[in-house]
Structures are given as C-alpha cells and as structure tokens.
C-alpha cells in the first residue's frame, strides 16, 4: 500500500469535518493533501486562515502551476477549479460543475487521471452531489476511496450519493478517517524502513 496524493472534498457542514480531520494529522505527515471546500465566490483567504489554526501542517491556497509538495495542505482558491497534473496543480475558471466552483468532481477526476492508483480520495459532509463522479473515477483508476459515514455527517446527501454511485472502499465515521490516514503514514514508514533494510542486506 503506497500512495502519493490525498484529495479531499467537503461542502455544507464540511468545515468542521475538515478542521477535525486535518487537525488530527501529525507534524510529520508526509503526503500532499489537496482540498476542495465549497464556499462563496469572494470568501478569499478566510478558510485557509481558519484551517491554519486547526492544523499543524502548512496550509497553502493554490496558485496556478504550483508544485505538489509533501506534508502540505493545498486549498482550492475561491472561484477557481483546482486540477491535478503529474507533479503540479493547475487552475481553471470553467463553468461550475455540480453548481460548484471549485468542484470536488474536477479535483478528484483530474487526480485520478494523473495519479491513478496512487490517490486516496476522501469525501466528507455535504448537501449536494458533487464528488460522486470523482469518487467513481478514483475507484475505476485503482485509487483508494473513503467516504464519511452519512450517519455521522452534518449533511448526509453528498456522502450518500457517492456510496450509491460506486463501490466505495471504506465508509467511516470522521474520527476513524483521521486514524486511517495516520495509519497510512505509519504503514508507509514501515514500507520505507523495510525497503531500506532490504537494500542494505
């Protein structure tokens, strides 16, 4: 199990979920995370400022062609779609997708195309159906899909739509998603360690 990128999406009720999730990540978390949180056109940097208080990792509002760096949380800027290329982000001002710009589908689908089975996609609380197609694409490309348990979500519609649309790998309450990500880091640390010790022999 070896991943290169985590993508996460949230809408209504998603801010608290995001803050909790990101807040549970340790300082040495080494994967890049890209996040779409639905918000108003002119909300500007407020979301990043708030998340910075909750999270130990650096929080960055993406600029066009910004390199994808480990251990960093990249936030989709207001009024732009966030897309993933092979080693950097790109932005677009194309029409809204699922009434949203940034759209979770756009982030997830481009991540699935660029990173294939090296992507972990996490869909949190929300009141529309953005993200369902993205989850399906990540799944089809061999990536790992995690959806917040609708029963534990402030708004169940978005996670429920994703679960209905694809064979999601894990449906978990929020606290367990955070734990899952931490385990992911540790298991890949084990992987690195064993890989290294094998080389030494």
């Amino acid at each position: 199990m070896n991943y290169d990128l985590i993508v996460a999406g949230a809408s209504l009720g998603g801010y608290d979920a995001l803050a909790l999730l990101l807040g549970a990540l340790p300082e040495n978390f080494h994967l890049p995370l890209a996040v779409v949180q639905h918000r108003s056109v002119d909300s500007d940097e407020l979301l990043s400022t708030l998340l910075r208080r909750a999270c130990r990792l650096p929080i960055v509002e993406v600029e066009d062609k910004q390199p994808i760096l480990p251990g960093t949380v990249f936030i989709a800027p207001a009024n732009y779609h966030l897309l993933v290329e092979k080693d950097h982000f790109a932005l677009s001002v194309d029409e809204r997708v699922q009434f949203s710009r940034p759209s979770i589908d756009v982030l997830f689908e481009s991540a699935a195309d660029a990173y294939r089975d090296k992507v972990v996609a996490i869909l949190l609380s929300g009141s529309n159906e953005d993200g369902a197609q993205g989850i399906a694409r990540v799944k089809a490309r061999g990536g790992l899909t995690i959806v917040q348990d609708p029963a534990s979500a402030e708004s169940a519609r978005m996670p429920a739509a994703a679960i209905a649309g694809a064979e999601v790998d894990h449906v978990l309450p929020l606290a367990e998603i955070a734990q899952f990500l931490n385990d992911l880091v540790h298991s890949s640390e084990d992987y690195l360690w064993h890989g290294r010790s094998r080389q030494m022999h």
Binding site: D64, Y80, L83, H88, D94, R116
Partner: protein, 285 residues
Amino acid sequence: MSKPSTEMNRDGGDLDLEDIEIQLLLEGVYLHYGYDFREYAPASLKRRIGDLMRDEKVASISQLQDLILHDPACFERFIVALTVNVTSMFRDPNFYLAFRTKVVPLLKTYPFVRIWHAGCSTGEEVYSTAIVLTEEGIYDRCRIYATDLNEAVLKRAREGIYSLDYMQNYVSNYVKAGGRAAFSEYYAADNDSAIYRSSLRRNVVFSQHNLVTDRSFNEFNVILCRNVLIYFNQTLQSRVHQLLYESLGKFGVLGLGHKETISYTPYEKNYEVLEEGEKLYRRVA
C-alpha cells in the same frame, strides 16, 4: 496493484489510450486547421474535450476527431469548447480597485496610453477597464486593444450586449471596485438585455490575435491577461510570458488573474510587485 492492464500501453508507460487519442486529435487539428492546442494544460483540456464529446454524442475521442477533421462546423464548436473563458464585469473587484489607485496615477503621467487586453473573451473586463478610465478622466487619451483568438466571442465583445440579470448582479462588483457613479448609467436596458454606451467602445479596437502562434503587434503601457495563461502548460506559459514581456514598454504594467503568478516563469526577475495581494506587476528590467 489493482490497475487494469488495459489502461497501460505496452511499455507500461505513462500514457493511457485517452491521452494518446488527445495527442492525435491535437496534432490533426494543428496540421489541418493551423490552430495549435498541443501545449495547453492537459487536465483542463481533457475536461473540455470530455464536455464536447457529450454534446456531440460520441463515445470516443477518435470519433470526435473524425467529426472535427471532416466537418468544419464541428471544428468551430471545438474552438468554442476549448477557448471560451467565463468572465464577468469587474471580476475580482479588488484588482480593479488596485488598478484605479495604483496604476491609473502612473498612466496619468503619460500623454498617450496603450492598453492590451490579451484574451478578452466576451469583453466584460474590457468594458470594466473602460469605465475605470472614464471615471478617472483619462479615457480620451487611452487606446485599448482587445484581442482573442476566437472570432465568435470577439463579435459579442464588440456588440457589448449582455443579459440584464447579470448586469444587475455586477452592481456590487462595481461598487467594491471603487465605482463612482451609478453602474446603470453605463448601459441602456431593453427587455432582458443591456447594451453598453458606445462612448465606452470609442477607443477600443477589437481584433483577432492568437497568443500561441501570433507575434507582438505594438508596445504597450499596460497588458491585462487574466485567467488566460492558466489554460497553457508551463512551456507555453513561458513562451507567452516572453511575448508579453517584449510587448511591454519600460515600467509597463502587467496584470494577471487572482491566482496566477509569474513566480514559476523565467521572467520573474524582470518585474516588481506593484500591489501586494493583487497580481499587478511592473516591468523593471
């Protein structure tokens, strides 16, 4: 690994079949029609091609290629799908506020001002600039060159007719951008549509220009190129930045979109930031 083997090419390489089909399509379009999309940013390009496939009701990019190469009308729709950028009046009002307070004072020191709106799309931001220049009393000595590669959007920009609903939504943008009059003074309303006063268009030249393949055509005091370069890959971005750089006079001003930056381009050192937080740069070398 759960990756299905059909998604890999024979070398286990990086290209899947869709990527190969896109390359072939773009190569064909370039050879047959002369439009070069080969260095557009892949992810957004792929989405736009996917949207067109749905509209054209084809199941594969190869089928789309067949239509585009053999049916010029389909090619026109392809150009629209790939090049029309969504924009609005006073998009990012703070940018226009900074333009008014930081750039206009510089422009007032020149006897004549040339402004290039590169990739003006349907023209909303051209009229926004014209309104600022009018309110600041310098429009009469300005000439705005508004260009786009797409003739269809240029036609709409030239007409200056927009949906009245939209215009009413733009009022708050206008106010936040430092507007000094009533926004409705700038257009005449008619049922569902609004048409801008011809005085705003008086010093605007709309013409076709392709940033990818055409050269510079003048030396400018200001170049505005907002949310256009995001659709290009880094190689093409660098080339277009060279074109913009060479088209700016000394101390000329470059304005980019809110989340665009010159940081990842070779021309970073040739500009200084004119207004922190807004993407307004001044050519210093």
